[in-house]
């Protein structure tokens, strides 16, 4: 809070979070598909200067509704405020911080590394060791797929770092809450 005397971390274009309070939060926003409705959600995230880490937009189980998953790096007070701001958007039907409900979070990643006869074998071993499966191979490259937590995705990327990574495509967090036991 601006009222406190704790030093703040200055983050250009983003909220100044009190030092050491930043954490990653995953917000689930359900928004009716109407002209401009998704813009409004993104607009609030931008205007309120939240530090976005990932943003996904997919149809919800309810037709005519989009489900936006936004991972933001911020302090708790800022997140609470952001949620209230998002709640004010007329087309937003529901918004919550996934940490406040039992949730399952998964992320899909595809990683392609350059390979030749010499490196292919060890690259595949490194990828499989990190839990990935090989989904495509050519003479020049191997492509891995992994579904897991954000940490597992990071581990895979680290494991493949020694090889020449050509491209990484991540889905961002996919979160399901309710009727699940956390983790």
């Amino acid at each position: 809070m601006s009222n406190s005397t704790i030093a703040t971390t200055i983050r250009p274009h983003h909220t100044n979070a009190p030092q050491g309070t930043e954490k990653s939060y995953t917000l689930i926003v359900r928004v009716v598909d109407r002209p401009g409705s998704v813009d409004r959600v993104v607009g609030v995230l931008r205007r309120r200067r939240s530090l976005l880490q990932s943003l996904t937009l997919l149809p919800d189980q309810q037709s005519g509704v989009f489900r936006i998953t936004a991972q933001v790096q911020d302090a708790e007070v800022v997140i609470e405020h952001l949620i209230e701001q998002l709640r004010k958007i007329i087309d937003v039907t529901d918004v919550y911080d996934s940490a406040t409900r039992p949730s399952l979070t998964r992320e899909l990643v595809l990683v392609q590394v350059a390979s030749n006869g010499e490196t292919a074998r060890s690259a595949v071993a490194a990828g499989q060791q990190a839990g990935a499966t090989v989904v495509a191979t050519t003479a020049e490259a191997v492509t891995f797929e992994l579904v897991g937590s954000a940490a597992q995705v990071e581990q895979l990327i680290t494991a493949l770092q020694p090889y020449s990574i050509l491209e990484i495509a991540r889905s961002g967090g996919v979160v399901l809450s309710g009727n699940v036991v956390g983790k």
Binding site: M1, S2, N3, T5, R34, P35, G36, D39, R40, G43, R47, V77, E80, H81, E84, Q85, R87, K88, I89, I90, D91
Partner: protein, 597 residues
């Protein structure tokens, strides 16, 4: 108010009102728009025609209940709708064509948005087949106005038109009010559909049903708040625009009187609580008097109602009310904890919360605290210390006092933005409820004249004064023609200092008197008035101030009174931006600096 002879052509159709409910009729989109406007209780709309909105203007002539005012600029239309809404509490409506017409509404919508004013803007849009193809006068007005509207709609088909129109009014009025824009493609305006009024509930019906279910704030919050109030030795009420928006005047008064807590009214809270009430102590912040800011600094409890701790109120937040706990009452949950952490947060309508809180608190006597504040006030002699370097020329205080006197305090005063705005806020005596109208959050120069047009049309029995600077009056001066054509009578006071005064003041204080682009010449305002068919009066001597104001009041029609004031008069005291609010620049300090130069 005399509605000027306006040739209202009766077209063949007989869609006078929305009362033939049981009949099933096929109407055009624009007829549906008009039906909804009538059902929503709209009696006046401000706008400007053009290609994409022409079907609407065609239908309009069949609805004499809808009085359309042709402003001379769409910005004027948006401010007029805003002024009408602020004065009446009803929804103000403005209309524009696509492209440049719609973009001209932007400043007015942003102004209304910042100050939570219920406005509905109707814009024409290019036909659907042309959308997204950079058609002539196509502007993505949804995108443009996204951050400055509470909500906006693009009507995709004729079926959604009526529900969206009603929803726009509902959204504009409910909760924390705000502007809503409805963008209607030309082919949707021309399409036809069956319209049954009974299928749609009006915003009034909706709000009534809401009110029936409104609950008082949770009992534990009320008890906690009452406990804090009981313990407080030096409490202060900070009353904001929320009091006016929820018409909580009587409830605020009852609460303040029962608890004997002194009341500070923010810029937009002025006239929510009479200046003459013994508990009223002033306006806070950048140009608040010293005793008001000092009382916040010394307070042990703030009861903030319908205000949002704007930075012009708080100055440096770290130095703001450091000793105080906070009971924060606001209808918008996102305002709670935004700037200042609340000890007891109460998300509620101001009227509902104050009623419940007044019932919960115990009466108390706090005369010692009030007397202490009064002693600081007396020691400072605020009014006496304002600029009077030249006793012969009109000074702002004498102008404002004359307006109050000649209108028996019954005037609604609409100020523009600049030094004159701060003088008006500070030195006009606010005795009539909701009589102070100004652009607070956005600080929009050019607001006063068109807003005053809307205010007067909403409150035809009240004398309405617009108070503007020589700079801001030029920004929407064209609306004099609208006032003239409509036969709407307002009085306009121009405080002419030959400068963009407020900017010049900052240059004097913070840029070592480098008056870059602030000296300004203007037109002959008497001739200007004459050119618009209005009366103009120029006042150069202080002794003529009162008689000029009287003459303006006695002259029928809109009158412009130009007061030539001290060119380098300043607004004192002043808190430099970024400083704590008890750290004030007083006139004496500045004089010393000047001598040292």
């Amino acid at each position: 108010m005399a509605i000027a002879a306006k040739d209202i052509q009766q077209a063949g159709t007989a869609n006078q009102t929305g009362q033939q409910n049981d009949e099933i009729r096929e109407l055009t989109g624009t007829e549906i728009m008009c039906e909804v406007l009538v059902r929503e209780g709209v009696d006046v709309l401000y706008g400007y025609p053009g290609g994409a909105i022409m079907p609407f203007y065609d239908a309009l002539t069949s609805y004499p209940a809808l009085h359309h005012v042709l402003t001379r600029h769409e910005q004027g239309a948006s401010h007029a709708a805003d002024g009408y809404a602020r004065a009446t509490g009803k929804v103000g409506v403005c209309v524009a064509t696509s492209g440049p017409g719609a973009t001209n509404l932007v400043t007015g919508l942003a102004t209304a948005f910042m100050d939570s004013v219920p406005v509905v803007a109707l814009t024409g849009q290019v036909a659907r087949a042309f959308l997204g193809r950079d058609a002539f006068q196509e502007t993505d007005i949804l995108g443009v106005t996204q951050p400055i509207t509470k909500h906006n709609f693009l009507v995709r088909n004729i079926e959604e038109l009526a529900p969206i129109m009603h929803e726009a009014f509902r959204i504009a009025r409910s909760g924390r009010p705000g502007p809503v824009l409805v963008d209607v493609p030309k082919d949707v305006q021309n399409a036809k559909a069956v319209y049954r009024a009974d299928d749609h509930i009006t915003s009034e019906e909706y709000l009534d049903s809401l009110a029936a279910h409104t609950q008082a704030p949770a009992q534990h919050l009320l008890l906690e708040a009452a406990e804090l109030i009981a313990q407080a030795k030096r409490p202060i009420i900070l009353a904001g625009h929320g009091i006016i928006l929820s018409k909580a005047y009587a409830e605020l008064k009852a609460f303040a009187e029962k608890t004997s807590i002194p009341v500070i009214t923010t810029l937009l809270g002025l006239s929510a609580f009479a200046d003459t009430h013994p508990l009223h102590i002033g306006m806070p912040g950048m140009h608040g008097p010293a005793h008001t800011n000092r009382s916040i600094g010394e307070a042990d409890l703030l009861v903030a109602v319908g205000m949002r701790f704007d930075d012009r109120v708080t100055g440096d937040v770290k130095q703001f009310a450091t000793r105080a706990k906070l009971i924060h009452i606001d209808i918008d949950a996102s305002e709670i904890h935004k700037v200042k952490a609340a000890t007891v947060p109460i998300v509620s309508d101001a009227r509902v919360a104050l009623t419940a809180l007044t019932e919960t608190v115990q009466p108390a006597d706090r005369s010692a605290w009030l007397q202490e504040i009064r002693s600081w006030e007396a020691a400072n002699d605020e009014r006496g210390r304002q600029i009077k370097r030249n006793d012969d020329i009109p000074d702002p205080i004498s102008i404002l006092s004359a307006i109050h006197k000649e209108t028996d305090g019954e005037a609604i005063v609409v100020s523009d933005v600049g030094q004159h705005q701060m003088w008006t806020a500070r030195f006009y005596e606010w005795t009539r409820l909701n009589s102070h109208i100004t652009s607070g959050g956005l600080g929009t120069m050019g607001f006063a004249l068109p807003a005053a047009l809307g205010v007067k049309m909403g409150m035809p029995d009240a004398p309405v004064w617009a108070v503007a600077g020589d700079g801001g009056i030029q920004m929407n001066i064209q609306e004099l023609a609208t006032l003239q054509q409509e036969g709407v009578t307002i009085k306009v006071a121009i405080m002419n200092n030959g400068y963009l005064g407020m900017v010049r003041q900052w240059q004097q204080f913070f840029h070592s008197r480098n008056y870059s682009e602030t000296p300004m010449t203007g037109p002959d305002h008497v001739k200007l008035a004459d050119a618009y068919g209005l009366k103009g009066i120029r006042v150069k001597r202080r002794e003529d101030v009162e008689s000029a104001v009287r003459e303006a009041m006695e002259t029928p029609g809109t009158v412009i009174v130009e007061f030539i004031i001290e060119p380098e008069a300043n607004v004192y005291p002043m808190v430099a931006p970024g400083n704590g609010i008890t750290d004030m620049i007083e006139e004496t300090t500045v004089q010393e600096n000047a001598e040292n130069e």
